[in-house]
């Protein structure tokens, strides 16, 4: 481990620098109380949140009550689990009973959900302490948090730059030590790309491996909740808590999550003998900044020194993944977001007694949704409309099949695929908002796994221009353990990446 690595794994006087694994162990052993740990993080939030704006809501009282409950259970001799008493921040796309949930949108401002998402329920059941809700691009559409209706989050590495998106709040909270763990959701890269640009670990589980119940739907065939952490082991521990079958989600895979924690620990031993890393030929030279390409090349070199071998694989349809995604996801979004009609929850505009339901609905949606959401709703409406369906949505679904076949062929030759997570390091605010398609390019390398459904993780692998770069490790469906092994092996050799003091 590097010096930075040792510091992040504790022991350090500052509890906010500890890893979740170390906090959980110390709380379980009675060396520190859950309440102390929670207070330390609430103090950190109070000190830096004005500059980072990672959160949309901080539930200090609720967090302290949950922490005290863990402490009293432990005092009564009950086991509290490996993450019992460890704080976690939750992306505001997951509903939380009685706690504001906006999805980054004015249309849900001040809404209090009447139930908890399955992921949130599992966090509570495992004794994790929810600190609050993290900022995000509105309805998880964006790569920078600049599309949040409540203002962007700021990258702890450089406050003039974006923290990625849509889950930029979760990544910024973890990178900035406001929370050791966070939950994100990944539809086209919304966990992995923020992970890459903030130097944190972000994993998209196998689609169906984590429950979508209570996840406010953007693109139902793609949306996947997953962990955000500062170490690979922490991400695996959180993944194990939230994963597994859920009878309330009809697309939940009826099988247990592979043992990702054991895989992360195995990988941390630094031995990858016999592991075949697939390099996607078609990704070479496609759009990545030179500094990103160089850091990724060095990381792959480091993995070969641990015993891994590199094979070249061909995935000829990956170049169509971005266009296919920007037809499929908006199509599903245009249907899913029809529920925001100003009738059952959220905003209602213009109901003055003279306007019809349709007029009120149209005014509500125009005032309540931001520009990116409107663009995607209209794009999806177009792609699904009579006369265009076959050429756009239908064709994109066929391309999706071909991309899955490319993955299947690649995984016959390689155990995992490795690539940059995102083509560029954290960019300055405003750099990509004037041309929406420039923002979409942030997802160039992350989207194929979403369309295929397999798991993928971003792990910090180096710096470019002083900013973090992520290596993405993609694995076959339900082989989430493989990506954790490789990611942990990389972490054991390159160490952790800690931003400068805020």
């Amino acid at each position: 481990m590097t010096e930075q690595g040792n510091r992040a794994a504790g022991p350090d006087a500052d509890l906010t620098r500890w890893s979740a694994a170390e906090l959980g162990r110390a709380i379980g052993a009675g060396e520190v109380s859950a309440e102390e740990v929670t207070r330390a993080h609430l103090d950190r939030i109070a000190a830096v949140e004005a500059r980072v704006h990672a959160s949309l809501h901080v539930d200090g009282e609720g967090a302290l009550a949950a922490a005290r409950s863990v402490d009293s259970r432990r005092a009564a001799g009950q086991a509290v689990g490996p993450l019992g008493g460890v704080p976690v921040a939750v992306k505001d796309v997951l509903v939380t009973r009685g706690i504001p949930t906006t999805c980054g949108s004015r249309i849900l401002e001040n809404w209090l959900p009447p139930y908890d998402a399955t992921v949130v329920e599992r966090l509570r059941d495992a004794g994790l302490v929810m600190l609050g809700k993290t900022n995000m691009d509105e309805f998880a559409m964006g790569s920078s948090t600049e599309y949040s209706a409540f203002g962007p989050s700021y990258n702890p590495w450089d406050l003039s730059r974006i923290p990625g998106g849509s889950g930029g709040g979760s990544a910024a909270a973890v990178a900035g030590c406001e929370a050791p763990l966070a939950i994100g959701t990944d539809t086209g890269g919304s966990i992995r790309q923020p992970g890459a640009v903030t130097g944190t670990v972000g994993a998209k589980p196998t689609y169906g491996g984590t429950s979508r119940y209570g996840l406010i739907a953007f693109s139902s065939s793609l949306d996947t909740p997953g962990p955000v952490a500062r170490t690979v082991e922490d991400a695996a521990l959180l993944h194990a808590v939230i994963g597994g079958p859920d009878p309330r989600d009809s697309t939940s895979i009826p099988a247990p999550v592979p043992d990702v924690v054991a895989a992360a620990r195995q990988g941390a031993s630094g031995d990858l003998t016999g592991v075949r890393l697939g390099l996607v030929k078609e990704f070479a030279g496609e759009g990545a900044e030179p500094g990103v390409s160089a850091a990724v090349r060095d990381a792959i070199e480091a993995l070969t020194k641990l015993g891994a071998e590199v094979v070249e694989v061909s995935c000829p349809h990956f170049r169509y993944a971005l266009p296919a995604y920007y037809l499929i996801a908006p199509s599903e979004c245009s249907s899913n977001l029809a529920r925001f009609d100003g009738v059952r929850y959220g905003l209602r505009v213009g109901d003055d007694g003279t306007r019809s339901l349709e007029e009120v609905m149209s005014l509500t949606r125009d005032r309540g949704f931001g520009p990116e959401v409107k663009r995607r709703i209209m794009l999806g409406t177009y792609a699904l409309s009579a006369g265009y369906y076959d050429a756009y949505y239908g064709q994109a679904q066929k391309v999706r099949t071909l991309i899955s076949r490319d993955f299947a062929a690649a995984f016959a030759a390689a155990d995992v695929l490795v690539a940059p997570t995102t083509p560029f390091v954290a960019f300055p605010f405003g750099a990509r908002t004037s041309d929406p398609y420039q923002m979409y390019l942030a997802d160039l390398y992350t989207i194929p796994s979403n369309l295929y459904g397999g798991p993928a993780i971003s792990v910090p692998c180096g710096l470019s221009e002083g900013l973090p770069v992520g290596l993405q490790v993609m694995a076959p469906t339900m082989a989430d353990d493989r990506m954790y092994r490789v990611a942990a092996a990389l972490e054991s050799t390159v160490g952790l990446f800690t931003p400068p003091e805020l």
Binding site: L112, G208, P323, M378, A396, V399, S404, Y452
Partner: protein, 99 residues
């Protein structure tokens, strides 16, 4: 050639129940045109005999026992509504005056 006209965007906005302003229409028309021209590249793929994928999980007909499950109390469900009357969601008038 533009993939989509301003009039088409206005029609889409109506279908999607978005009361967009004239200014928004000007902006969106240009942006959607750029996006559509980019995503139209999916048409380059020869895929006539390829089956579509709507979902990556190969599950069909997920069944459960037909047993009544507890559901949310009515007051909890109505608590977040913009307007409630007589224990129901109140909506603006649905029909036009002349109908």
């Amino acid at each position: 050639m533009a993939a989509i006209s301003r009039a088409e965007v206005a029609h889409l906005a109506h279908l999607a129940r978005l009361a967009v302003t004239d200014e928004e229409l000007d902006t969106f028309a240009g942006q959607l045109d750029v996006i559509l021209q980019s995503v139209a590249r999916v048409g380059e793929v020869a895929a006539d005999d390829i089956p579509p994928t709507s979902h990556s999980v190969p599950l069909t007909n997920v069944l459960r026992e037909d047993v009544v499950q507890p559901c949310l109390p009515r007051e909890d469900v109505l608590a977040g509504a913009p307007d409630v009357a007589e224990d129901r969601f109140r909506v603006p008038r649905i029909l036009d005056e002349e109908e």
